[in-house]
Symmetry: C2
Subunit: 434 residues, 2 copies
């Protein structure tokens, strides 16, 4: 396929006329499609309806240690839920606290606790002049908005194919005491889809932070969300690695069943070192008597064990794989050799990240919207919503049906071509002037 970059101005204009005609067709068909958020589809939600039956009115709602899950108590979660989620994230159940339905809330509460009470005896952040976080970009928009909400300064760090640029991370973390954390989605990363390499994780574990209360916020949101049974990415387990190299307290690991069972009604957890868990529980006991134990038990009874989760995730993969592959194959067919964008073929997770030509992301998202396809706003995967190159677009293929997704993909491809052609023609015209 001919690269747009190598076309003459006349060729570009001709091409644009064709693409423009196609775009107008889409506009006329009054589409209403959405690839904006990482939401499971209805078909996926139906996989977990068995959850609704495992605890009928005749069920015994006591857990293994004799606790009646209906009543008050058990601050850190029932043991069998710790085992299940522990197996899911490769951590010992003793290193886990089970919370409510949202890992985002755990992350928020972790920031909030650090602001008001500090981390393991260190100065509360609200008493410091400046607190900074490193933000590998592109990343998860909700991490960034909550960090901004607390007035924490965010510093961009580029994500490479191996994870965050560790030369930069090491340099900053070891030299600036105001840097208190870094946001990581280490597996099937949101939105790039990459998994941190072994070396990256090992370098993370060996960081020598200037701040004693520096923590890695390890959002393991897609730990078991593989698209393929054999061809899976592997992620070095960071808690164990940190412990092994003498940095046991440096990481908070977050996970949830939101994209395993129901996003509206799952269970979430944090895993951390014993010292961190003591610190967290000291605060948590003031915040609650205990989270929803019945729902914890419901999840345990439904999945039974980690094998149950593995088999369940295969069913999700069967629904998601065709969607991912369709988009990626069409990108290969339409963009291969065109030199107007880059993307990675993720082996799991919830997103495809398209890196358009510089200065084109906003235009693409805007054109798609006008043709009835809603995408995540350009800029969203960056702190303060500012993509310095205006090039990154996060595509969420999960929610639409495959049929709708196919149409949305064609619209997206057309919009990318159109915005790229606009840019190249504009550039060609500028060159003529000078």
């Amino acid at each position: 396929m001919q690269s747009y970059q190598s076309m003459t101005k006349e060729e570009l204009i001709k091409e644009r006329e064709e693409v423009q005609a196609q775009y107008k067709k889409y506009q006329k068909s009054e589409l209403n499609l959405n690839m904006a958020r990482g939401k499971p589809s209805l078909e996926q939600l139906d996989l977990s309806m068995g959850l609704m039956d495992v605890l009928g009115s005749r069920a015994d709602l006591t857990c293994d240690d004799g606790t009646d899950c209906r009543n008050y108590g058990v601050l850190d979660g029932i043991q069998e839920a710790k085992v299940l989620l522990g197996d899911m994230i490769e951590c010992h159940p003793d290193n886990i606290i089970i919370f409510g339905n949202s890992s985002l809330t755990i992350m928020y509460d972790t920031l909030s606790r650090s602001m008001t009470h500090g981390v393991m005896g260190n100065t509360p952040w609200c008493k410091l002049d400046k607190v900074k976080f490193l933000c590998p970009v592109p990343g998860y928009d909700r991490h960034f908005t909550m960090t901004e909400h607390f007035g924490i300064e965010m510093i961009n760090v580029p994500i490479l194919s191996t994870g965050p640029d560790m030369d930069i991370v090491e340099e900053l973390v070891s030299s600036d005491e105001a840097i208190k954390g870094i946001w990581c989605v280490p597996k099937y990363s949101n939105p790039t889809g990459i998994t941190y390499s072994d070396e990256t994780v090992r370098r993370f574990a060996r960081l020598k932070p200037a701040a004693k209360d520096f923590r890695i916020y390890w959002d393991n949101a897609y730990g078991v969300h593989h698209l393929y049974d054999l061809d899976q990415d592997n992620l070095v387990e960071i808690l164990a690695e940190c412990k092994r190299v003498g940095n046991p307290d440096m990481v908070y690991k977050f996970c949830s069943t939101s994209k395993i069972s129901f996003p509206g009604s799952g269970v979430a957890a944090i895993a951390a070192s014993p010292n961190n868990l003591v610190d967290i529980k000291e605060q948590l006991k003031n915040q609650t008597i205990g989270f929803d134990k019945v729902n914890q038990l419901r999840h345990v009874r439904f999945f039974e064990d980690i094998y149950g989760v593995t088999e369940h995730m295969k069913k999700h993969a069967e629904i998601l794989r065709p969607k991912f592959e369709w988009i990626l194959d069409r990108f290969d067919e339409e963009f291969g050799g065109r030199e107007i964008g880059k993307w990675i073929r993720p082996k799991g997770g919830y997103f495809i990240c398209f890196e358009a030509m510089e200065g084109c992301a906003k235009a693409i998202v805007s054109k798609a919207k006008k043709a009835g396809v809603v995408l995540t706003p350009a800029g969203a995967p960056f702190p303060y919503g500012k993509d310095p190159k205006d090039s990154v677009i996060r595509i969420a293929p999960t929610y639409p049906t495959l049929e709708d997704l196919k149409i949305a993909t064609e619209v997206f491809i057309t919009c990318v071509k159109l915005a790229s052609l606009d840019k190249l023609i504009e550039h060609a015209e500028l060159c003529e002037v000078f």
Copy 2:
């Protein structure tokens, strides 16, 4: 019955010998009973087992507006849950946000948000030198421990039979800008069992706080927890009253279904003015995508409407009434005329509050423990765990079976007599010396 206060030293010693003999019998019987926490009994929990059936795998989990409760979204709760809880606390559904399973967490998060972000644009409390709360005493221990956790200074205000002493409340609130809140359990109060009088609520609504960000923390935990169908306490609805007198933003009202359905798995809510709700949601959208909507729907399908709640609460009352009445009748029989303690006959709620002779509460709780009956620690209903008169004991009659409760009551009565006799004899001996 002869008053202990009027007995001679010799009479007291003789009485003590008899009571002591009875106490030793209890000690030998190796009891293991608990009246420490306001937990529903197993029999009460069984009333709500129907909750487990209303959303089977064939149920439609979409709510009235078409939202699929299984998926992400709906920050402030599903409409039908707002209607149900709104009817429960006499508030318009538009004034409500539904949260997770714990109103305690909402209260904690409200304090936490005020610390980090301030209240409706006012200075965040963490930036102030001093923040104070008024604490009507005796009150709910978990209110006080969370307030202490945030380093907020607590000021005791006596509770009268009409509610907090409003002369003191008005004086302090209008003169000290550092006073940012007051804790209230206005109906069937924890632990006194009283309900705030109409005048008290009207005076609350008419407060003229020195601090713009002063808020009444109105923990309506026992709003529908009547022991009698007709002989109910009535509480003036504070949000409406505040609005009526031009103070619409001065109150946060909290409630939950913890002691209606399951404490481990209920739904909780806050009600407040539109201005406050905007302020809360501005923060909340950073903390979660939404709380457990499936459980909200489950509660709506189970109770159907407020009439369903009323009928359900009658079943709770049938279980609780004999327990409360047994203890109160035995108190009448054993303490009437003795002048060694005071108590109120509550018409609802979860507690009986016994006010022993000064300096006797710790001794009573300790003696009961040694005879196998665990009570709430003396001092717990006071800030910093310090009961200035060492006289208040909170009794929680709900959890034990009626049979166990009868034994525990006899032990308690014996311990009260014993500690009182010890005190009176000690006093008589001191008088002899001087």
